[in-house]
């Protein structure tokens, strides 16, 4: 409430300054991607005039294809993981929300406990489980690790949402002769779109950005994801910030576009349960 508007300019100015200060590190990356090495050292904060695409070019045309292989792996792992986790956790979440038995309550609690487990705690045994299954150092192995680890999150979101879907719709589908499977996929799942959206967005960001699992599970043998690629790129040329920044810029672009496209959903998904407690 500003009385009389005498100090009405204070809030926007303070907010703008805080935002600019906060954004400075990201600004530094954005401007230095388009400068050559000498300009980065002599004038790190200035705008790139004239802009150059040399840094981006050098990342894209690396002889070891570090970026392209990483991009293919990251895309594969992220897309497959999202599809599998969304499908499986939607079914399980809906099932648990609809059942009244004690067992399903126990399952729910056990799944919720899984949300707290730090990845480092179970990484060694996961590598052994994957080795037993013959999936170590492979994309399917990494996907499987994600399916296990992020399933509880999906179940949690879908189970919460399933309670808002009227039971009568499923009953009607059953009367019309749909089996359980079809009733779920044709009637219930389309109605859970907001829940699916937030699960897809969260998983997309988490899995795309993950570092530790691909580092260990894919290992040096099976190539990298873009995130591990960034880490390898800093190891090589510590001082060449231009190409490291360009690598990061290119690696972040897909997930940033993805986030901006679904921004409203993302924030909605984040705050859906927050205010209701």
């Amino acid at each position: 409430m500003n009385r009389g508007g005498t100090r009405a300019w204070i809030r926007p100015v303070v907010a703008l300054l805080a935002g600019l200060l906060f954004f400075l590190p990201i600004y530094l990356v954005l401007v230095n991607v388009f400068k050559d090495g000498s300009a980065i050292v002599s004038n790190p904060v200035g705008l790139p005039v004239p802009p150059t695409l040399d840094n981006i070019q050098s990342v894209l045309s690396r002889p070891d294809h570090l970026f392209w292989y990483g991009l293919v792996n990251s895309t594969e792992v992220t897309v497959i993981s999202i599809l599998v986790i969304t499908a499986i956790s939607a079914m399980l979440g809906h099932y648990l929300a609809r059942s009244t038995g004690v067992l399903s309550k126990v399952i729910m609690v056990v799944l919720l406990c899984g949300l707290m487990v730090p990845p480092a705690v179970i990484l060694t045994p996961i590598t052994e489980v994957l080795r037993t299954l013959g999936l170590m150092s492979s994309v399917p192995g990494l996907v499987l690790a994600y399916v296990g680890y992020y399933m509880p999150f999906g179940v949690f979101v879908f189970a919460g949402f399933a309670k808002t879907i009227p039971r009568e719709l499923e009953e009607a589908a059953a009367i019309d002769g749909a089996g359980a499977f079809r009733a779920f996929w044709q009637v219930v799942f389309p109605l859970m779109r907001p829940a699916s959206a937030s699960v897809v967005i969260f998983l997309g960001v988490w899995i795309w950005n993950d570092f530790l699992n691909p580092l260990i599970v894919l290992g040096p043998a099976a190539g990298t994801t873009v995130t591990v690629g960034i880490y390898r790129a800093i190891g090589e040329h510590q001082a060449d910030f231009g190409s490291v920044f360009a690598f990061m810029f290119l690696a972040t672009l897909p997930i940033l576009v993805f986030y901006l496209a679904f921004q409203k959903q993302f924030v909605k998904g984040l705050t859906g349960g927050a205010t209701k407690g």
Partner: protein
Amino acid sequence: MRIRTLTRPDGSAAAPEAKDTAAVRPQHTPARRSSRPSRRFRPNGGPGRFALFAAPGLLAYLALVLVPIGMTAGYSLTNKNPFNPPTRWVGLSNLTSLFSDDDFLKALQNTVVITVIVTLVTNAGGLAIALLLDRRGWLYNALRSVFFVPVVLSAVVVSVIWQAILVDDGLLNSMLRQLGVSHPPGWLSDPSLALYTVSWVIAWQGLGFCVVIYLAGLQGIPQELHEAAAIDGCGPLMRFRHVTWPMLAPAVTINTVMSLIGGFKAYDQIQVLTNGGPGPGTTSTLAFQVIQTAFNGNHVGYASAMAVAMLILVATVSVIALGWLQKREVSA
């Protein structure tokens, strides 16, 4: 219209269940008395449904979360080392030697310091910024997105950005030199500073998450409460103390628990920024220590004991924090 009978896909009639009382019936379907035993539709009837809907997810969870936790607990009782067989049973000696292991205790201390700093900075800063941005208009909308961008970035990317700023001859120190500081601090190379620098980087990335949650909390406070308090003669500070702060209790709970769990998971930033240094274990965290011991030292048994200790710690802290915070919510 109510459904009387219903057959399962396999043709058998759905049997009535003892548990199907009016209590679990949705409120809006009035229970009609009928002479025949009522048969209600059961969406989760039969073992077939369980196999179809629940089993795939549960199997994945079992094989890749629960079994690994069990394996970790099992290994923690052995001296397992893949490069130094045979594996022998050592009982609880791994766990007991943790208490006199300086590296582990240092990592534990660092984890607590990082977690406390990150939780305080993201919550205090996040709340301040949320209060600042709690207005309508394009400027505030744009700024909300700005604060949220780091949340979408990978921790590795964030760490590399800050590394470029904070290394000894990085952007910050060259600016300080231009301002006439002859010996700027070694943000990442000075053992007395590095841990705080790492905490700052983690907090910077997590701040946007807290801002969004607090903004949602602020928007959920009915305007009438503010007006009523203003009529009762409360100034802005009093209003914050007696209206805003208590009403934000659920948002505080979410942010605190998320920050606590996030602090315990801290790994990527350590590996990129300091690799546990400068000096022996100066910035090593529990997660970092577990991975180092298991994959670089190959002491899987000992690393598992650390992981078990870590798991017990995370569970205890989360449960205590949740319990205390939710009690606060009720009393607020």
